[in-house]
Structures are given as structure tokens and as C-alpha cells.
Amino acid sequence: MNLTYFLFFICIVVCTLIITYWAAKRSVTTNIFYTADGSLTGFQNGLAIAGDFISAASFLGIVGTIAFNGYDGFLYSIGFLVSYLVVLFLIAEPVHRLGKYSLGDVICSRFPGSSMRLMLAIGAFTISILYMIPQLVASGFLLRLLLNIDYSISVLVIGSLMTIYVMFGGMIATSWVQIVKTIVLMSGTFLLSLIVLSNYNWNIPAIITDVQAHSPLGEYFFHPGHLFDHTIELISLQLALILGTAGLPHILIRLFTVKNTFEVRRSLLSATWIIGTFYLMTLILGLGTIALIGYETLVATDSTGNLAAPLLAQAVGGDFLLAFISAVAFTTIVAVVAGLVISATTAFSHDIYHMVWKKGKSTEKEQLYAARWTALAIGLLSTIFALRLETMNVTFLVSMTFIVAASSIFPVLLFTIYWKKFNRTGVIAGMLSGLIVSLVLLVLGPHVMHPEHGLIGREAIIPLYNPGIIAIPLGFLGAFLGALASGNQSENEGDYPAFFRKAQSATRSRSDAS
């Protein structure tokens, strides 16, 4: 590793550790540890949500996908963005009003009880871990490619950093690391886009001509249909993307970090502006990569396309810009995994340890203690898992996470908030059917069953790479039938109109309410 790289990395590590030190001195109550005491402004939280959401897979993967597949790569990114409308319209405000620290709180505000909380905690925990492992594995490969560092060392460095941020700095450190990441990421991609455009004297038709000349797809580069040739796969993937975000615990718990619903809406609006602008810039980077570097060089360096943005940086700005973009990628990874650690930590230490095991009776000090140890344990365990998984391709787990979230947590949240006749049996049936169906479809699908490179060496029983179109309706159906099958149970489930009013129109701020 040369000195420029080293300086950039040290700079990021030192800056984020200073943030963590500053946050650690403030994280003295559970409210501050889990939600930063609702102290973020809407715009800050919007930056943090974008930081939580844009993974290295989005940054590097989408640029590569656009460079390889043209239109379809861009189409893929739009699905992610539309999902924020579902969160904003249907889920965000009720979740903010009903929950204190976790999604378990939201469901238990209507259906109190240990089994409900346990169910939600297991769901949130599973989703966060399922998402974290592939991110860690990918980060190991990425740093190896970018910096020539050993896979194990990369995973260990990122695993330790994420654990330190969350264990000591809780939500404050996580939020500010994510905010810094978004600012660095947006400036990096903006700078790179400007350089690409200026290379062509701001003449976009010239870029398009060059892209067509350098891509094997030629003029068809700008036509749809290169990535998704199956209708069902395409619709299925889009369905999981658009509904998945509304069930992702690490995004939803960010809604607790602002003080009222006005700021919740501002958070999500800022997030859509930032993420939308970001995807527009990745389009420029994807086109720029093909136009300036060409398909052959890109494939020869890395066949997955993940190195498109770094290669482009090197081509237009030399080693210095490459070092900067690599540092951006590094920040992107640590910010996302830190968000996942805190989400898994909240599900375990608040829901399972404090509310279920200790029946809500542990003291403030014990809770903080438990939260910090949980963060350490989760960090350690996922790092160990990621180290062991070096030889396995686990990237499909990322799209699986969206399917699991959209088929388990999303239906349960939606029905709890809006359906008068929904009940406890419905919650359990919905969560279980979503989780089980997604996992079964994964095992029976081509990611696991494949004659050549599958864990099970035979033809897949369900030949869908994206089984969302089956899993999501079944998750909803499970919740619906579960609620119907238990008959009139809903009549004994408390006062729905009062719950609904609290979910929809309590305008008090979080601090007043608690």
C-alpha cells in the first residue's frame, strides 16, 4: 500500500474514532444509546438514512452494472428509490409515534406481550445479520482488490471498527459516521462525475457515441433487456425492492432519532433527494467507465464490474483520485455495517434481554451494559462468520434480505397499523410464513440448487433467482389467514380506535411523550 492510500485510510479511521470518542462521552442513557435522544434534525437524519442505505454494493456494484448492462443497471437503482415512497406514506409516521427504540415496541403498543416482542426481535435480528454477513464478506474482497490487503485483515479491520463505533458510541456515533460517509460519498461521486463530463467538454452526445463504440452491446447499450430477460424475474425483483425497505429494521429504527413527525418526513424527503441524485451520478460514472476505459479493460481487471468506479478514478485523476475513491468505498462499508450492528443490538438487548428476559425490570445501567456487550458479541460473531465464508459466494443474501423484509416485517407492520381485525395470531403467522417461505424458496432456488456451482448439485426446484413474487404474497396471506383463523380474538385486543388515533395523529414530540 503506498503512502497516499495509507494517509487517506488513517484520516478516515482517526476521524470516525474521534466521533466515537465524542459520542461515547454522551451515550450515558439508553435513550441516547439507542436513538441519540431524538436529537438529529430531519436533514441530518436524511443524510444518515442515505448513509445507512447506500452500500458498497450500490456504489461500486451499480456503476459496474450500468457499465456492463446499460439501461437495466439504471432501472435496478430506481426500484430502491421508489421504496422510500412506501416508507413515507404508509409506515414512517406511525412507526415513529408508536415505537420507542425498536420495531418490537411498535407492534407491542397494540399487542403487548413477550411472544409478540420475541417474534419481531427474531425477525429484525435475522434480517440485520443476513444483510451484514455479505457486506462484510464483500468488504474483504473489495479491500483486497483495491489495496492489496489480505482478505482476513480487511474483514478484521472493518469488523473491529463497526464494533467499536456501536459499542462505545451507540446511535450517536453510528449516525455521525453515516452522515460523514454520505458527505464524503456524495462529494466523491460528484467530483468524479464532473471530471468525466469535463473530459468530454460537457458534450453528452459525445459520451453516448463513445459508449456505443466501446461497449460490445453497441447501439443496443441504451436499449432495455440486457440484465433481465425473464419477465417474472424482473417484476419479482422490482416488487422486493419497492416493498423491502419498508421492512428493513436498520432503516426504520433511524426514524426514532428525530423529535417529531415533521422531522421524520423531512428525513425521508432529504434521503430521497440524496439517493436520487446519487443514482443519477452513478449513471454518469457507469457511462464514463465504458466510454473512457472500455469494456475489455474493465472485464480483464475484474469480471464482476465492481472495480468500474475505482478504475475510472484512476483513468481520469491518477493515483490520488483512486486513493480518494477507495477511501470513499471504505467509509461506505463501515457506515453500513455499523448501522446493521446497532439494529441487531437493539433487537437483542432491548427486546430480548430487557423486555422479554428481564420483563422490563432491568435498571438503566444494566441495560446499557447489556447493549454494549451485545454489540461486542454481534460484532465478533459476524466477523468470525465472514472470515469463514471467504470461499463462498454470499452476495445473493443481499437481495434475499429485501425479500425476507418485504414478506415478514412489512405485512405485519402494515396490518398492525391499518387493519382493525388484525390480531396476535396474525402477527405470529405473518412473521413465520414470511421468514420460512423466503428461506425455503432460497434453498429450493438456483442460488443453492445448481448443477454446476450450487451447494446442492442438481436442477433448482423453483427456478427463480428472485422469489419475491411468491414469498411476498405468501407473507401477506399468512398474516391475513392467521388473523382470520383465530376468529373474534381481535375484539379482546384492546381499543383499536384509540391505538389508531395515537398512530396517526399524536403530534406531541417524542420527548413530551416519554
Binding site: 432501472l75 415512497l85 404508509l90 432495455p224 433487456g225 419497492i242 425521508l268 430521497t272 396517526q504
Partner: protein, 89 residues
């Protein structure tokens, strides 16, 4: 009081239902039209040099920003009404 809340919620629900249905329809019409009308989608759109497929994809982003902003305005107004109602109580 109850009636006031109900009225506000009814107005909000109308907005949300319309906006969500519109967003879903607008969004899923893109992949559907790519699959069923590939030729039309590859023809030049109202912007010179840009095909319908690309124009529609860019419109998605604008649609998201616009709907989010409209909802923000609406919700701000309804929150103010609720606040007034609470104070009058």
C-alpha cells in the same frame, strides 16, 4: 373532537391512497411496457435524442420527488389543524 380527528384522517387517507396507487401504477407500468412494447419504448420521446424508456425512467425520479414534496405539504397542513384542535379542547 372525535369528528374532527376523523375528518382529518379521512382527508389524509384519501391523499395517501391516491398517491400510493398512482406511484405503484406509474412505477410498474415501466417494466410492463418495457416487456410488452419494446419497440415503442426504444423510439425517440418528447426529448430529442432520448428514447421513451430513458425518459420514463428519469420521470420516475421526478415523480418520487414530487409526490414526496406534495405529501409533505399536505401533512404539514393537517398537522397544523390537529394542533389547533388540541388547543381548542
Amino acid at each position: 373532537m372525535e369528528k374532527g380527528y376523523e375528518k382529518i384522517w379521512r382527508e389524509k387517507r384519501r391523499f395517501i391512497l391516491t398517491a400510493v396507487s398512482f406511484a405503484f401504477l406509474f412505477y410498474f407500468l415501466l417494466p410492463v411496457s418495457l416487456i410488452y412494447f419494446p419497440e415503442t419504448m426504444n423510439r425517440q420521446s418528447f426529448i430529442p435524442g432520448v428514447t421513451w424508456a430513458w425518459a420514463y425512467a428519469f420521470l420516475q425520479i421526478i415523480m418520487i420527488w414530487l409526490l414526496g414534496w406534495l405529501y409533505h405539504l399536505k401533512a404539514k397542513k393537517l398537522d397544523k389543524l390537529t394542533e389547533q384542535m388540541i388547543q381548542e379542547e
